[in-house]
Subunit: 204 residues, 4 copies
Amino acid sequence: NMSKVKLAVVFYSMSGTNYQLAKWAEEGSREAGADVKVLKVQELAPQSVIEGNEVWRSTVESTKDVPVATSDDIEWADAIIFSVPTRFGNMPSQMKQFLDTQGGLWAGGKTVNKVVSGMTSAQNPHGGQEATLLSLYTSMMHWGAIIASPGYTDPVLFGAGGNPYGTSVTVDQDGKMLEDVEAAVKHQARRTVEVAKWVKKGNQ
Amino acid sequence: NMSKVKLAVVFYSMSGTNYQLAKWAEEGSREAGADVKVLKVQELAPQSVIEGNEVWRSTVESTKDVPVATSDDIEWADAIIFSVPTRFGNMPSQMKQFLDTQGGLWAGGKTVNKVVSGMTSAQNPHGGQEATLLSLYTSMMHWGAIIASPGYTDPVLFGAGGNPYGTSVTVDQDGKMLEDVEAAVKHQARRTVEVAKWVKKGNQ
Amino acid sequence: NMSKVKLAVVFYSMSGTNYQLAKWAEEGSREAGADVKVLKVQELAPQSVIEGNEVWRSTVESTKDVPVATSDDIEWADAIIFSVPTRFGNMPSQMKQFLDTQGGLWAGGKTVNKVVSGMTSAQNPHGGQEATLLSLYTSMMHWGAIIASPGYTDPVLFGAGGNPYGTSVTVDQDGKMLEDVEAAVKHQARRTVEVAKWVKKGNQ
Amino acid sequence: NMSKVKLAVVFYSMSGTNYQLAKWAEEGSREAGADVKVLKVQELAPQSVIEGNEVWRSTVESTKDVPVATSDDIEWADAIIFSVPTRFGNMPSQMKQFLDTQGGLWAGGKTVNKVVSGMTSAQNPHGGQEATLLSLYTSMMHWGAIIASPGYTDPVLFGAGGNPYGTSVTVDQDGKMLEDVEAAVKHQARRTVEVAKWVKKGNQ
């Protein structure tokens, strides 16, 4: 009796975009039969800075009931979808801190064979939408993870900009997504779950 | 008496896009006072394959008088702008072969302090437009080159998609460029020449 | 009745090192129950250049009965292990040409879900041993491949330099490998086959 | 009357290695005639965690008089040398946070034309010594920085492992550096200052 694939969607969101991507990934994953947790990473910015930025404050408010990701969540998960905005072509420090603090889990071999993929957003079409995901995967190779990026596995991906490394979206200065990536996110989520099913079943 | 900056624009083009980018880079560089050579790299595909593809054949025809880049050209140059389409998120083998065969020049220390930047094209907005340039720069670090990518040094770059690693353009299936990147290319060319001027003057 | 995992080891070798890595990968893969093909990619250098280099000529001679990899081999394979020396922090043009010419296979969706890993060599410990593998995986994401790099999945990897992206080895000017990586290669091969088994079985 | 090159060495160090690299870079830079500031980035780990780790606590103690880097320091600097241990093939969150919080400086165009290079350390020879530096440079391209990595510009670099992206060192479990990289660090520092001199002079 095969248990469901356990999938953690781990995101950092300042403007709400990556929280939305995470929720779409949750929907797609559930439809594919996964047991899903949506989790945020710990904020590093001081409260005063957040208070001074209306959009950021609003995102913190709307995600206040989302649990903070822990090592236990990573250990629990068969698969992980990461979602982060770019910061100078690399993940934000908030997500990097989350990864960095999994050293104990890593040393115990508990990060091996997680099936992973990533999503991202940027203000410019070529402002790190590829580089951010590639640097995430570099870290995932250290974890011994199995990388199942979307590639060009479905025509829906072309409409979302054809990012083979993971779904990415351009966000304007008002925080509005400029492409409709919902279907691409859901495809990516289903693919991540599917590969995780194979790995989980084979691994038993 | 300071001589002009010598700039080589080295491109590979199958559909004509990167030849056009190269010509815009040539214009921008000349305006910035450089002595410019536009150079193609050696084709690797068999003539029969080229003949069977109308666009490709036409590009080969239109570039038939463009000289093939040599080690002497690289040695001559103070600065180099590379222009290549992406092939699976990396430069085409034709350009890679050109780089690979500069081993003698490299061993003699003749690739050091060249000021470089790159340009690229892809069929998808996120289909390697960042990754291709980043992998080019990795090789350039082996050469001891000085990398002067455009970053966000001019507002014109935002209109071209805001690729800080170099100008990139999306090309549809008919070979038409989907963004107007001419001004961004010319800015990049001027910047490359400007940095090369500083290096050349300082180095004397 | 589950058929064996079909694994292609595709290498380029000038000094013999990557041919040796390929043969160790073949051994490890067979022990793991795979049906294995060892394949070289087409040489691009002129015969006259090869003739002038004793080591190179000797490698060409010793690999003369190794079949040249084709699209049919990639289509056949459930898993692929690539092995290449670095050339300026990226794969050699010979291997890049092989990848580039799989465009037809790629367009037909025939590169999807191949389980892949890579191996490399360099003259310097940090002379591209990481970068070369990372750029290979970038291309593999375009293929929709599933990346199963070794990570730190076995203690034997530490003795080989602890490259989580794939086994790599330093080669001195006489072509001698400076680290003993045979066991690491075999572990990597077994891991690649194991993940491919899961994917193949799940995919049926 | 040309003012001296102003160079900031910005490091994060937990075990003391990158503090040592920073001090060697300081020496090399001063010898090359630069005005140098050695600066640490803000720690993110809780005091209780640091207290529980003798080496870490000792590093915090020995660097307690080192000033914390600020945006003013980056604005002041003509050149920057970064030094960080790897964390899963990427810079630690502490350094990433420092970069992330320079958004204001970046938006004001104040990061443009800084001449930069990076240094790193890892427990494994191939455990991120290349990847960490490459991801740093990706961010630096967003800043519009000019990248002057060491390449193979001096024979001393071969003795330090021949990392063309920047000096890197392997550190054993007792925190001991396994290669003698002092001379390579000093060469890198001199080169960074030299290129910065050219840029500063040309830019005036």
